[in-house]
């Protein structure tokens, strides 16, 4: 499947592989007063791991909370197995959410927390299910300690154990790897992969592209409340790394350097500004090799070369502007 970039007017809905979508969003929007958190998102998600990627504040949590039925869409529909998830506690028999906030009942032990989840889910073998879930996240050694004494990564893991104690078909994990060390992260990814191989639908949000590397086959990219792109992870990644890079350059003679740089095939835009040259290139590597040579040939002294937009936000917003 190739990546799709969403246009303003686009209404096509990205679909994951698998015969039966479990989560369907139809033009779902959510606003708070006059702040729009999620704007007209449509997608159908089925078995396997789907990553929801985007900078902080892009609306990832809002989308996940809408899927989890904790936020009603202001417009549009959010369906789990064909039924609206908001105000419908029965969906939680098959759906589980690992919320982003790390708060867990601090006065309970890890075991008590997971066991409470099992009891509330009416699991038939409460203690058996509790033990299995705790073993899966490798928390047996700390299960009798109060959750209040846990590290961030341990809290994340006990939250995941509590969420999957009833073996849900659909799991929504909001930034689950926050606070985990690399080893725990790899182990947790392995758990997710096994669940996905079992045919479960797993949605993982993250603001870090690399976290979803080798994990999510399908990725939804959110920027400013909109679905900016969706598709295969590798495609999304290529779009992100191939984007044009912008540099700001100051030199002893900006005008002459700008003229000389335009001759370079790797450069496709040069702008003279009072603070220096703003240069756009598709090939970062070529530019860094050519620039000093060009400057020397033209007998111009380079004063400063600075990449302008290396923030994650700009990477994502490139995808929207494209």
């Amino acid at each position: 499947m190739t990546a799709t970039l969403m246009r303003e007017e686009s209404s096509s809905s990205p679909v994951t592989d698998g015969p039966r979508p479990r989560i369907v969003l139809k033009n779902a929007s959510r606003w708070y007063g006059n702040v729009v958190a999620v704007n007209d998102v449509s997608c159908s998600l089925g078995a396997g791991i789907t990553g929801v990627l985007g900078p902080n504040g892009a609306g990832k949590s809002t989308v996940l909370n809408m899927m989890a039925g904790l936020l009603a869409p202001s417009a549009g529909e959010v369906l789990i197995d064909g039924a609206p998830s908001a105000g419908n506690p029965d969906v939680y028999k098959t759906l589980a959410l690992v919320p982003e906030r790390e708060a867990v009942h601090a006065f309970l032990t890890g075991y008590e927390f997971v066991r409470m989840s099992a009891r509330l889910q009416n699991v038939s073998d409460v203690d058996g299910a509790t033990k299995r879930a705790i073993a899966l996240v490798d928390m047996e050694s700390a299960q009798d300690r109060k959750v209040g004494t846990y590290s961030k990564g341990m809290r994340q893991r006990i939250k995941i154990a509590g969420a999957m104690v009833h073996q849900p078909e659909v799991m929504l994990l909001d930034e689950p790897f926050n606070g985990m060390d690399p080893r725990q992260r790899l182990q947790m990814m392995d758990v997710m992969r096994r669940l996905a191989a079992d045919g479960k639908t797993i949605i993982i949000s993250s603001h870090i592209l690399e976290e979803l590397n080798d994990l999510a086959t399908n990725v939804l990219v959110m920027v400013s409340g909109r679905l900016a792109a969706s598709g295969h992870f590798r495609e999304i990644r290529r779009l992100m790394t191939d984007r044009p890079h912008t540099f700001t350059i100051r030199s002893s003679n900006d005008r002459a350097l700008a003229a000389a740089l335009l001759a370079d095939p790797s450069v496709f835009g040069v702008e003279l500004t009072p603070t220096g040259i703003v240069l756009r290139t598709a090939d970062r590597g070529a530019l860094t090799r050519h620039l000093p040579r060009t400057a020397r040939t033209a007998n111009i002294r380079l004063l400063e070369i600075r990449p302008t937009d290396e923030s994650l936000e700009s990477v994502f917003s490139y995808l929207v502007e494209r």
């Binding site: 708070y32 702040v35 958190a37 504040g57 949590s61 809002t62 909370n65 989890a68 039925g69 904790l70 936020l71 009603a72 105000g87 506690p89 029965d90 969906v91 939680y92 028999k93 759906l95 589980a96 959410l97 919320p99 906030r101 708060a103 867990v104 009942h105 601090a106 006065f107 309970l108 409470m116 989840s117 009891r119 509330l120 889910q121 009416n122 509590g162």
Partner: protein, 250 residues
């Protein structure tokens, strides 16, 4: 789990309400009247005649009038307030569990906790000063009044804890402003005062054992207004939990 009460929510709420710090507070609340009674017992020069008016005003003013609303306020607003503040309510919300059952269970635990504080607060001082003028009907009548009070107060405060983040302040304004100050100035306000309900029930049940000379609210008013307050409060709580949405940080 088909009854109106969910045993797991009951267990969780119990653990929440009796977290260590609140346990100390509850102990202090339930033992303070005993201390006052002990001081009275060992300092009063006319124990025979002073015991009845002493115990009447201790139980009416301090226990029913002050400790009961404060205990109900603390337990009631914490029943949901604590989980809303730290964000752990979400773990109850994402379970296949009817929301009204969550409300009823938490309400029941809050009421039970309030009563657990009231029983020693009423019975222990009576044990210290009891004589022939203070039969067992005396503490029993106050217990009946406190029970009615706890039932209505808890409903109001559980709902406040669920619907506003300033439940403690609003609850205090209700207790101090409406009940203590206004209801003394304007008689009609008494029919909205849970504390007055408790006093009226106490007088009614005591059958003369408790001497309350000033006018109390009519029993018919107690039942009507008490039921209305209770039902409306619980209905609002169920409704707002069913529509509860997690707060977003935008």
């Amino acid at each position: 789990m088909t009854g109106p009460i969910d045993s797991t929510v009951l267990w969780l709420t119990w653990r929440q309400l009796f977290a260590r710090r609140r346990l100390y507070l509850a102990a202090a609340f339930s033992l303070a009247p005993l201390l006052i009674a002990l001081v009275f017992r060992f300092t009063s020069s006319d124990l025979a005649n002073a015991s009845v008016p002493f115990l009447t005003s201790l139980l009416r003013e301090i226990v029913i009038g002050t400790l009961l609303p404060i205990a109900a306020l603390v337990f009631g607003t914490t029943a949901f307030g604590g989980e809303i503040d730290d964000g752990t309510l979400v773990y109850l919300l994402v379970k296949p569990l009817a929301r009204w059952r969550v409300v009823l269970t938490k309400y029941l635990v809050a009421t039970a906790c309030t009563l657990a504080v009231m029983v020693p607060a009423i019975v222990l001082p009576w044990l210290v000063v009891k004589n022939n003028d203070l039969p067992w009907q005396f503490p029993l009548a106050f217990l009946a009044g406190a029970t009615v009070g706890a039932i209505v107060y808890s409903a109001i405060f559980v709902t406040l804890g669920l619907t506003t983040r300033r439940a403690l302040v609003i609850g205090l304004i209700y207790v101090v402003g409406l009940e203590v100050v206004w209801s003394r100035l304007i008689n009609g306000i008494k029919s909205l005062s849970v504390r007055e309900f408790a006093v009226a029930v106490t007088k009614q049940v005591s059958d003369g054992a408790v001497q309350i000379t000033d006018p109390v609210v009519k029993m018919s008013t107690v039942w009507t207004m008490g039921t209305i307050l209770l039902v409306v409060a619980i209905a609002i709580a169920v409704r707002s939990l069913a529509r509860y949405e997690i707060a977003e940080r935008l």
